[in-house]
């Protein structure tokens, strides 16, 4: 696949630095599934790993790489709904879907404007998106569904830090599936 230029206005980087990547269908299907499987399987064994959100990292990765908001929305919605489907009977389907849809849209829109290949940038956007992700999830669950959720800044800060650190390595691993 060839990289193609996208319409660009007011970017923080030069137009030449912004490239759009595509992925094989196998990678587009199995990477999210593996992420969801690991999220469900590993946390069953190691509960403390539930602080990581691998599906959200995958959504961010695909959205930033493709730099297409529509694709980012759909990718986030699908991954989020799959993640919801494993949530059990007490977990309404759609909470992660809505959250990841917004994250996918925001990440793809951001990827159009800034260079997200840098590890520092990846660390930062992962941290920020994790906070936004938790905030949206809390808002949907508490505000719309009246679920007894509790907001903890310390937990969100630690989770954001952990996800950002792990995300840098995950993104580096997923870079191998990029196709220009």
């Amino acid at each position: 696949m060839n990289a193609r230029a996208t319409p660009f206005r007011g970017s923080l980087v030069s137009r030449e630095q912004v490239a759009v990547y595509e992925f094989s269908w196998a990678a587009a299907i199995f990477v999210p599934l593996v992420a969801i499987f690991l999220q469900a399987f590993v946390t069953a064994k190691l509960r403390w790993l539930a602080v990581l959100d691998l599906p959200m990292m995958v959504v961010i990765f695909f959205a930033v790489a493709r730099r297409n908001p529509v694709t980012g929305c759909i990718t986030g919605a699908i991954i989020g709904l799959l993640q919801d489907s494993l949530g059990g009977p007490s977990h309404p389907i759609g909470m992660f879907g809505i959250t990841d849809t917004i994250i996918g849209y925001a990440a793809s829109s951001l990827g159009v404007k800034i260079d997200v290949e840098n590890p520092g940038t990846r660390f930062l956007i992962t941290y920020i998106f994790l906070v936004v992700h938790d905030a949206i999830y809390f808002g949907v669950g508490r505000g719309l569904l009246r679920q007894p959720l509790v907001w903890s800044w310390s937990h969100v800060a630690i989770a954001g830090l952990a996800n950002a650190v792990v995300g840098v390595f995950v993104y580096h691993l997923l870079d191998r599936f990029k196709q220009k």
Partner: protein, 463 residues
């Protein structure tokens, strides 16, 4: 972003006539906000999915969230439409469209007047219904059959206080039936016609009612006076009677059931001879009667053993003295026939533990004296129901409490079984009331097979 397309629509190539100018604009908007529209569509679809599956608990049960949201979304618009409609309608009908209002106003005023009259009538009916309802409840407590009647007139002179009621022999009324109200007795029927009846109230000078003081159980006769007052007579002057004491029917006149409220003692004054002149204020408002109940059938109840009245020293003394033997009926062979309700000397000695079924003169010999000294109290119903199996020479007939004579009123006031107020049957005993030793309240009857202690004095307490 940045993918806006400004190419003209293929369906509106010829837009010179202005018919298809909206097409390119719409396409431009869709292209410019395509990403946001897709985002909104996906989020909306997921929100709908959430709303369908999630239920919100309410007082009426769980309601799906989509229903809650739908109501919350639609209700404000509905309210706005309805309020606007009402506002316009009110302004129109209140300030513009006033045709026929004057005539309608006059009709309404007439209707109000008619309804006021109707309301007055209904209020009177409601009050009457309440009074009759009270009468009915009262009836259930005391009497078996009654006939409700309305007072339709009086005798019309000062000397007689006769009342006329609107029920007569056609309704089952007969002379000497008691007339009452929920608050107290009224009088008795003296004359009956087919559709009306005369009632002699208790404050008439010709009236006389067997009465008793509720607390002290002193009995007398309540008589009316020409001035409309009522006095309780034949109460000994040495009896302690206090104003405010409740006066009830004694049942001795065979007209009024026992225990009906008559009134309260208003004043106590020394009267002629040795009796008090006790003025009684009737409980029933005899001067303002509207509805009354005529007791056509009295419900006689057995005295309750748990409701034991005071006991008098005269009762004990009367039991120590030999009484006048009652005539014992005999059968064809000349054998005495037991009388239900009559207490034998053995029954008088029932408290001594004499078996109730024991018969024979051996045990009852000399019973009047020894039995009285050793007898313990027996509940009223118990003594009254024992068969008279003893010799007639020693027994003092046990009477129901409501048949106690006027003499029974002279005694101390400690609780006693109602069936033992026999002093009234023995004037001599009543006269020997000076010492007034009184017995303790009834104690349990010893077992039937217990041998009575010989000549044990009665347990007495000072008054």
């Amino acid at each position: 972003m940045g993918t806006a397309q400004t190419e003209p629509s293929h369906f509106c190539d010829n837009n010179a006539n202005g018919l298809c100018r909206a097409g390119p604009v719409m396409e431009t908007l869709l292209g410019r906000y395509k990403n946001l529209i897709v985002l909104a569509a996906i989020l909306f679809a997921q929100l709908i999915g959430l709303a369908v599956q999630v239920k919100r608990p309410t007082q009426e049960g769980d309601i799906r969230l989509i229903r809650v949201w739908a109501i919350a979304a639609v209700t404000p618009f509905e309210k706005a439409v309805v309020h606007t409609q009402n506002f316009i309608h009110d302004k129109w009908t209140g300030y513009v469209w006033l045709r026929g209002v004057r005539g309608e106003n006059a009709d309404l005023r007439d209707q109000i007047e008619r309804m006021k009259l109707e309301q007055t009538r209904l209020t009177e009916d409601a009050n009457m219904a309440r009074r009759l309802q009270t009468l009915l409840q009262f009836k259930e407590q005391y009497v078996e059959n009654t006939v409700a009647a309305q007072v339709i007139g009086t005798s019309g002179n000062d000397q007689s206080r006769l009342l006329y009621i609107d029920k007569g022999s056609d309704d089952g009324l007969k002379p000497d039936m008691a007339v009452i109200t929920p608050t107290g007795i009224v009088g008795k029927i003296v004359q009956v016609s087919s559709g009306s009846a005369q009632v002699l109230p208790i404050n008439d000078q010709l009236s006389g009612v067997g009465a008793a003081l509720k607390d002290s159980r002193l009995q007398g006769i309540l008589k009316g006076a020409p001035n409309g007052t009522t006095t309780l007579q034949y109460i000994m002057a040495d009896e302690p009677v206090k104003p405010g004491e409740v006066v009830i029917t004694s049942g001795g006149d065979r007209i009024f059931p026992k225990g009906l409220d008559i009134g309260r003692v208003a004043a106590v004054e020394p009267g002629k001879d040795l009796f008090l002149n006790i003025r009684v204020t009737p409980s029933a408002r005899l001067n303002r009667l509207e509805e009354v109940l005529v007791i056509t059938k009295v419900e006689y109840k057995l005295p309750d053993a748990t409701d034991l009245g005071p006991i008098r020293a005269s009762d004990i003394l009367s039991e120590r003295l030999p009484g006048v033997p009652s005539a014992q009926p005999v059968d064809a062979n000349g054998n005495p026939v037991p009388q239900p309700g009559a207490t034998s000397p053995a029954a008088g000695a029932a408290g001594t533990g004499a078996p109730a079924t024991t018969t024979g003169t051996t045990q009852n010999a000399g019973a009047p004296n020894t039995a009285a000294g050793t007898r313990t109290s027996v509940p009223a119903g118990t003594a009254a129901t024992k068969p008279a199996t003893a010799s007639p020479t020693g027994g003092t007939a046990s009477r129901p409490a409501n048949q106690a004579g006027a003499g029974a009123g002279r005694g101390a006031t400690l609780p006693q079984p109602a069936g033992q107020s026999a002093a009234g049957a023995n004037p001599a005993a009543a006269a020997t009331n000076a010492t007034k030793p009184v017995r303790k309240p009834p104690v349990s009857t010893p077992p039937a097979n217990t041998q009575p202690p010989a000549a044990k004095p009665p347990e007495v307490v000072p008054q």
